[in-house]
Amino acid sequence: LSGRPDFADDQNIPLMTWYAAEPLVEQDQDRFVQLGGGSKIPIIRRHVARRVASIPGNISGIDQLVRVMRSVQTETHRSDLLSGLLTGLEGIRRFDLPPAWSETYAVLKESKEESVREQAQRLALIFEDPQAIQQLKQLAGDSALDKSVRHRAIKALAGSRIAGFDEQLIELAADEHVQMEALAGLAEYDHPATVKTVLQVYSSANATTRQAALQTLASRASWAKALMAALGSGEIARTEITAFTARQIHSLGDKQLSKDVERLWGPIRETPKDRARLIANYKPQLTATLIQSSNRENGRALFQKNCANCHRLFDAGTLIGPDLTGAQRTNVDYLLQNLLDPSASISKDYQMQIVATTNGRVVTGLLIEESDNAITIQTATEKVIVPRNEIEEQKISEVSMMPEGILQKMTHDEVRDLFAYLMGSEQVALP
């Protein structure tokens, strides 16, 4: 049945066939891989590859799959097997290089399908294929190449925390075409020159790159201390610190740092009494008449800067937090409550996790995926996969992923414009 392409789109047959075939993996893995790897049904190919790869340390099974990958007919076939393998290996940083790999990789990297090349590359990094690593390092450093190619190479190498790549990242931080990726990548390593490098390039970097640099410095207590010193001396302006960075520093769990960041930035969490007073202060400025006369275009620009990173409204923004389009947006009290006191009621889906890794990094964000081997955390800026064996401590924060203090950084006019945009019934153009 697994060889029948005519039922590949049937509602039930592919999965039922898979369930019938699955126990074979324990009785005769060779046959299982042959049958599944050569199956004419995509979902069976992916499941077979995933099942084989999710058996811990199954080098013989993976080697056999790698060999089958070379002989299969189509690129879709290869892509299915690769994606199954990668799913099964998710959260595993390193796996012994299977003997059949180098010959198969030579075929895969010439594939005309980008998905095949890209997945093969990710697998090569898990196998620590020296040839693939060398090639990627070359791409990362080649200033004649298109930026996007270099960005992908840097993200791939840093994301897999390839040993020794941090030296190259330090050099690349001076290259304006790849500066942001290099600075973000340094968060993966504990390189002694990171702080110095960030401070050197900070003033000449653009706004998004500067935020990435701050995120990196805020990811470890020792670096965050250097960051506080730079803020204290005015080397970095205080206004550069967003609510997210302030809270990231707070969640490092260092008492002195928390105190310093509160002094510089204001309270990370207001007392209930202060909040009630704040809400009372804002309310008279947000009457229907005042809101009607404000500038919605400017409100959209403010939304873009402060909210759109996590929220979607109408047709723009990112879905890390809830989509606001259907929320009770026309209710001023509801908006004020949620903006000034986001932690008063958090649904379980949006509880923030604080994860400390064994290599000294602290990642804060939403838990979006859990598997036997790894957890995936969505931070304000990226998805971070943390292998379970690298988790030193994991706790649920009592505060919402949404930071407090967003309105307090705005002028009264700006708050009004933002509310007018939030409460409106349709999208407006950006100014």
Partner: protein, 65 residues
Amino acid sequence: LSDESEHLRAWAIRLLSEDRELPAAIQQRFANMAATDPSALVSLHLASAAQRMASRRIAGHWSKR
């Protein structure tokens, strides 16, 4: 199993595979049908029979221990 009605073929598969070990000849017959029978209904019943056979084999495997 060779009736021209797909409903009858599916029904026969179901009946044969319900609660006993299948003789090798019928297993072979099922395998041939899995490769060639044009009916989705028949294939669905074959997949279901295959699952039952697989779980019986696992059960046998465990009781042998």
